[in-house]
């Protein structure tokens, strides 16, 4: 997603119990570090490791980034775009789809769906 790059201007402190929101899988960014959406790479890696350990492929919907997991309206869908049968692949072929800044040739991985959809029905 565009424009979600954030720079850590201040040294952040997380007094208890606020430190519960910190993920144990990734380094907490310190002052002076730029951060942005990484599609929760740590969850993707964890799922890949488990799947390889069990000798199977990742099931569709097994990996949920934090934003998709949190959203109460289930507005965000994440999955394997390369797999044509996954839910995210089917949605990415919807006639409602659009991408941002396509004309710049940046090939973003985020598809947006315009209004009026009935996929949930």
């Amino acid at each position: 997603p565009y424009a979600v790059r954030v720079f850590n201007f201040y040294p952040h402190e997380w007094p208890k119990p606020l430190d519960n929101q910190l993920s144990p899988d990734i380094t907490v960014r310190s002052r002076g570090v730029m951060e942005k959406c990484s599609f929760c790479i740590q969850r993707i890696r964890r799922a890949k490791e488990e799947a390889t350990g069990e000798g199977r492929l990742i099931k569709d919907g097994e990996v949920q980034p934090a934003c998709a997991q949190t959203c109460p309206a289930e507005a965000m869908v994440f999955g394997n775009l390369a797999d044509p049968r996954s839910r995210v692949s089917r949605l990415s072929r919807s006639p409602r789809r659009f991408k941002l800044l396509e004309h710049l040739g940046t090939h973003p991985s985020v598809f947006y769906l315009k209004g009026g959809g009935r996929e949930h029905v």
């Binding site: 424009a3 720079f7 850590n8 201007f9 201040y10 002052r31 002076g32 570090v33 730029m34 940046t106």
Partner: protein
């Protein structure tokens, strides 16, 4: 050159006059160095404040992440092209009027690029991790990203610092030998080491001549590539207003403009400070003024082309950036256009104005003010109104950034002051070479040149 009064002086007199600045420092010198040192120390204190407290002390915020530091960086890289263009090109075109200007221009190049190289380090979010950019095998599992123009910057600037320092040192060798022969004590030891045993034999002179010509020819592509690489910091992004292929030539032309103007300013200052009125005559200012006119015309054309292609394409976001810039920063835009286009083009057309030292000083200072504003107007408005309207923002510089930029200027001036105290500010051997070439031997009723050689 019928106007050259230097030919009437003896060799010793020329040496004395040009080396007069190498004497023991006067109170005035100490005061100047102290004042500049205080400004530099203040800038250093501000930098340490920023490093310990955080980048929030600067004016940077989403989305304008590049502010005065990058403006300063591009400005000083541009200024560093002074020596290259003036010294190399005039050397290669064998223009005689280059001789008094060479040394100051070459020294300026080295000090400007040194100051410029500080800015990317000052601008880092975690300054203490700057060594991550150096490609050596490490335990971090990190390797610098060679696809990033910021890394090309680092490479180009390092090459340019090394190249221009060598160029300066090569030109200094005969002058260091003269200084060595005339000094005593610890100075003599230092000059002796630096002069590398120069004895002035004809073999040494012929090698020197070949090496200078070669270096002059080689430093030009380095300079062009350095500023093109700095231009690519902007041009390879997709930010509107930056995503244009004209950036490399436009930046190089801007650098030449700013460099030529800075050399003129420097000429006025050293002429006054070291009483070198007979060496830096109105003829030299006349010729530099003509150069300034040509470059200013070229820059005006490049700027016009940039605006005109933006207007012609009428791509919404690009035109929006330009409208925003001309609406919010109108005063700065007008000052820039006056300083870079109107004043130089109008004033430099007239010989009387070109030969007037005061006019040249004012015009050259205004050109550099205009160039700084130009760098600012390229960087900040484009970032303020980037591709996604929901993150449009604004920027104003904080006192930390202003202090650091002023300290950079003071640092450059301090380096130059120290340089002028220890090394001859004018290319002694070049000036005396001209005098030797033009001195004649009376033969009957004519005067024949005493030296045969190509010129």
């Amino acid at each position: 050159m019928s106007e050259n009064p230097v030919t009437a002086k003896s060799a010793k007199q020329i040496n004395d006059e040009l080396l007069s600045s190498l004497g023991p420092p006067t109170l005035r010198w100490y005061l100047l160095a102290f004042f500049l040192g205080v400004v530099v120390a203040w800038g250093l204190a501000m930098f340490i404040w920023q490093m310990t407290h955080g980048m929030y002390v600067t004016g940077k915020n989403r989305p304008v992440m590049w502010g005065f530091y990058i403006t300063g960086f591009v400005f000083w890289v541009g200024l560093s092209h002074s020596g290259t263009m003036v010294s190399s090109i005039l050397r290669l075109s064998r223009a005689n009027w280059r001789r008094p200007i060479l040394r100051a221009a070459e020294a300026m190049t080295v000090f400007c690029i040194t100051v410029a190289g500080m800015f990317p380090l000052i601008h880092l979010g975690r300054n203490w991790t700057f060594y991550y950019m150096i490609p050596y095998p490490n335990q971090r599992g990190l390797w610098p990203n060679f696809r990033s123009p910021l890394l090309w910057d680092m490479t180009a600037i390092t090459v340019y610092i090394i190249g221009s320092s060598l160029f300066l040192f090569l030109g200094l060798l005969p002058d260091l030998a003269v200084a060595r022969d005339r000094s005593s004590g610890w100075r003599q030891k230092v000059y002796a080491v630096l002069a590398m045993g120069w004895r002035g034999t004809s073999h040494e002179w012929s090698v020197y001549r070949k090496a200078s010509t070669l270096m002059a020819a080689l430093i030009i592509p380095v300079a062009v590539s350095v500023h093109s690489i700095v231009a690519w910091d902007f041009a390879v992004t997709v930010v509107p207003g930056w995503h244009s292929t004209i950036f490399p030539p436009y930046f190089v032309i801007g650098a030449i403009l700013s460099g030529v103007a800075a050399v003129i300013t420097l000429m006025v200052i050293i002429r006054k400070a070291f009483h070198l009125e007979e060496y830096l005559t109105p003829l030299h200012f006349d010729n530099m003024g003509k150069l300034l006119l040509v470059i200013s015309l070229l820059w005006s054309y490049a700027y016009f082309v940039e605006v005109q292609t933006t207007w012609y394409a009428h791509e919404p976001i690009e035109w929006e950036v330009f409208s925003f810039m001309s609406g919010r920063y109108t005063t700065q835009l007008l000052i820039m256009l006056t300083g870079n286009c109107l004043l130089p083009i109008i004033c430099m057309c007239f010989k009387r104005l070109r030969r007037s030292i005061g006019v040249m000083l004012v015009v050259s200072l205004l050109v550099n003010v205009g160039m700084f504003i130009e760098r600012f107007l390229i960087i900040v408005p484009s970032l303020s109104h980037k591709n996604m309207p929901f993150v449009w923002g604004s920027y104003s510089p904080s006192w930390v950034e202003i202090s650091v930029n002023l300290a950079a200027l003071a640092g450059f001036a301090l380096l130059f002051t120290l340089f002028a105290k220890f090394f001859p500010i004018m290319a002694l051997s070049d000036v005396r070479e001209l005098e030797a070439r033009q001195s004649g031997v009376p033969l009957g009723r004519t005067r024949l040149p005493s030296i045969a050689g190509e010129e």
